[in-house]
Amino acid sequence: MTTQDCATCPVHIKSNLIKLGVDMDSWDFVVALAGNPNTGKSTVFNALTGLHQHTGNWPGKTVTRAEGGFVFKDHRYKIIDLPGTYSLLSTSTDEEVARNFILFGQPDVTVIVVDATRLERNLNFVLQVLEITDRAVVCLNLIDEAQRKGLHVDDRMLARELGVPVVPTSARQNEGIDMLLQRIDEVATGEYRCRPRRVQKTSPELEKALSVLIDKIQRVYPGLRNARWVALRLLEGDSRIIEAFENGEIDELLSAQQLAPEHAFATEGGGE
């Protein structure tokens, strides 16, 4: 990982966030809320912000991005509720919204809301998010429903496996939200260093191709945080990422990433 950031500074890319339509006045940290549909994301959002956004029990409820804010330990947090998606791989509009936000906006913390009763499928998504960002907190929601169904989820073991904090919650009952806020704050301020598991047990040929490509990318963009992820998408033929290379969008992302946070603030008005 890059070493030039100071541990307690925000890592989000302010200019990109503004471009993504986030009003960045008077916020210290940016939190993105991601997860599969129907995991209670909007309920967690409401519990964190105290807002009464309408929540519904059906997939695809949040197609537009909801935003809110909260203050915890004197830090002012902006929180963005991303559309619920099953993956970050394919290219429907809502998946792209979620992926672009995490990739280009680089939120200080990404809270991944997970349905404790359907852990395996939800983990597919968690692992994909952890490939893009290493600042995440897993919110193990609907833990009460899991208990009623006779399921016990070992949250400590899960945290060890994933390398990021895991907080069991029951957002509908407002349980576990305090702990969630605590963990978000620890990750945002750098008090907790996430060491996310990056799984890729791939074939030897792929690994070879990958190392060639990563090498090339890193020569052009030294200090790129997710070079492996970008390389994998290119090898997959991900059209959105290829497009980002073609139209130069990737430059903007990477140049913003390479600036120290103070500089990102200073150049914010500078335009493209």
């Binding site: 549909p37 129907n38 009464h52 309408h54 519904g56 029990n57 059906w58 997939p59 695809g60 197609v63 537009t64 559309p83 791989l89 394919s90 290219t91 429907s92 509009t93 809502d94 009763t117 852990l119 395996e120 499928r121 983990l123 597919n124 692992l127 994909q128 429903e145 006779g150 399921l151 016990h152 989820v153 070992d154 073991m157 899960l158 496996e161 994933l162 509908r172 799984v199 890729q200 047990k201 074939s203 040929e205 792929l206 191709a209 060639v212 490509l213 090339k216 052009v220 390389a231 994998l232 290119l234 090898l235 997959e236 033929g237 290829i242 290379f245 073609e246 130069g248 990737i250 430059d251």
Partner: protein
């Protein structure tokens, strides 16, 4: 910068050639390793504490709600129940509100205005135009919305909507549309603009366009009150009193089902003509049933939906009220502008079984469907020269109950045909201006916006025309 661009295309070229070497299976391999990792972790951390497999009510419920045999009838029955509760529950509060706002407050405002010597035209514009329009919107819309939205939201919270999608998926696929269109259609029952935004969950642009164009066939909350009022006045009245409520409810369900049918028909036609293509497959997760949180649902559906929608309606009713009063009271020659316009529109109206008043109302109400009924009432009162409280034309008089509505409609020469066609036209006509603007923003195309606007309008004219001709041939 050019240097960067070259380096970028270098990277792309390298990636391309590497992709050739490693074969096509990268995506699958990656997904597979992801899945197996997820599986490994899940089996490590999840433990089944006890097997309590006594009675799985979720499965049983799903078997009833999504079965081929009972799924659709249960859906229709649930809709009918919701409308019946809305119609029979909204009656009394609607009357009370009308009594308060129109029969008590309005004369008081008028007499106070006269006492302080306000000129007649000012008090006419303010109280007979603006105030009455707003008062009508509130008394016609608030009670049904305050009952309908919480019930709908409870169904939503419970998890019923995806089951509807599941039931209708097959039909949507056969129409060449995306199964998720059932969800955006449900969203349209609240508000078409919201339904159009919701089509973002559909991946393919072709299917998304179909969903956007046909969303208008979902009756939005601006149109429910029109349907409910006309159904109770005309159909509730002909049924025996004990069955009045359920008859009106069934008529409204019929119109809603016709909307669903037109959605399928239009989707089918579009996907065979200008939007050709195959329906794409998708997986729809049926979320677990969750006990609805009654209090929170009441709160959010009242604040988010009822008050929000009512506010929007009032905001649009205020200028519309002023316009109605002005065109009714500004004279060109011996008739007012409104009378000229109505006379101009009357022949077209007759042709499609409506009348000039209704067509003019639909023009005035383009910004919001919510104000159709108040506009129709005010314009009707004007053309009949029904002077009630206050001075100037275009003023409403007391409407204590449904019989009073019936009385005006009959004086204006309405028949059952007018009622039927008004309900049909309310279902099938152009979207409101907010929705049109949303469609433009979402599609970014003037062409598709025009299609979405004029296709239903043309269909509405055609439908009403044929109904009117057949009606007159066989019934008249």
């Amino acid at each position: 910068m050019t240097n960067r661009a070259e380096q970028n295309s270098d990277i792309l070229r390298l990636a391309n050639s590497l992709r050739w070497e490693i074969g096509e299976k990268v995506h699958d391999t990656l997904l597979q390793s992801l899945y197996s990792e997820a599986e490994r972790i899940a089996t490590r951390v999840v433990r089944r504490t006890e097997e309590k497999q006594s009675f799985n009510w979720e499965q049983t419920l799903d078997r009833i709600l999504t079965s081929r045999l009972t799924g659709v009838p249960v859906m229709i029955a649930l809709l009918a129940l919701v409308f019946w509760l809305t119609i029979s529950g909204a009656n009394v509060p609607s009357q009370l509100l009308a009594e308060l706002l129109i029969e008590t407050v309005h004369p008081f405002l008028k007499s106070s205005a006269a006492q302080i010597g306000m000129p007649w035209w000012l008090s006419g514009l303010l109280f007979d135009g603006v105030y009455l329009a707003a008062a009508w919107v509130i008394s016609v819309m608030l009670p049904p919305m305050a009952i309908f939205f919480p019930m709908f939201t409870l169904l939503e919270d419970f998890g019923y909507l995806p089951r509807i999608a599941f039931n209708l998926d097959n039909l949507f696929r056969k129409s060449g549309a995306h199964g998720k269109q059932a969800l955006t259609m449900s969203m349209g029952y609240g508000c078409n603009a919201a339904g159009v935004i919701a089509t973002r969950i559909i991946d393919s642009p072709r299917e998304r366009l179909i969903a956007i164009i046909t969303n208008n066939f979902s009756l939005c909350n601006g149109r429910w009150p029109t349907q409910i009022l006309i159904a109770s006045v005309f159909f509730g009245a002909v049924a025996p009193p004990a069955l009045a409520g359920i008859t009106s409810a069934l008529v409204v369900v019929g119109v809603a089902l016709l909307g669903i049918f037109l959605t399928f028909l239009t989707s089918w036609l579009l996907s065979r003509t200008i939007l050709k293509g195959q329906a794409s497959a998708f997986s729809l997760e049926l979320p677990p049933y969750r006990p609805p949180r009654i209090l929170q649902t009441l709160y959010t559906s009242l604040i988010d939906r009822t008050i929000f929608v009512l506010w929007r309606a009032v905001v649009f009713a205020v200028p519309a009220g002023a316009v109605i009063w002005l065109i009714s009271n500004v004279h060109l020659g011996e008739a007012s502008i409104a009378e000229h316009l109505i006379r101009l529109l009357d022949p077209v109206g007759f042709l499609i079984g409506l009348n000039g008043v209704i067509l003019l109302a639909y023009i005035i109400a383009i910004p919001a469907n919510e104000i159709i009924i108040p506009t129709v009432l005010m314009l009707t009162a004007l053309t009949l020269n029904l002077h009630g409280v206050g001075e100037g034309a275009g003023v409403l008089f007391e409407l204590a109950d449904e019989n009073a509505y019936m009385a005006i409609f009959q004086q204006a020469g309405w028949t059952l045909l007018t009622a039927v066609n008004l309900m049909l036209f309310s279902l099938v006509h152009n979207p409101c201006s907010t929705t049109i603007y949303t469609i433009y923003k979402e599609t970014g195309s003037a062409k598709w916006t025009a299609v979405a606007t004029f296709l239903p309008l043309g269909m509405g004219f055609a439908l009403c025309f044929f109904v009117a001709q057949f009606w007159r041939l066989f019934a008249g």
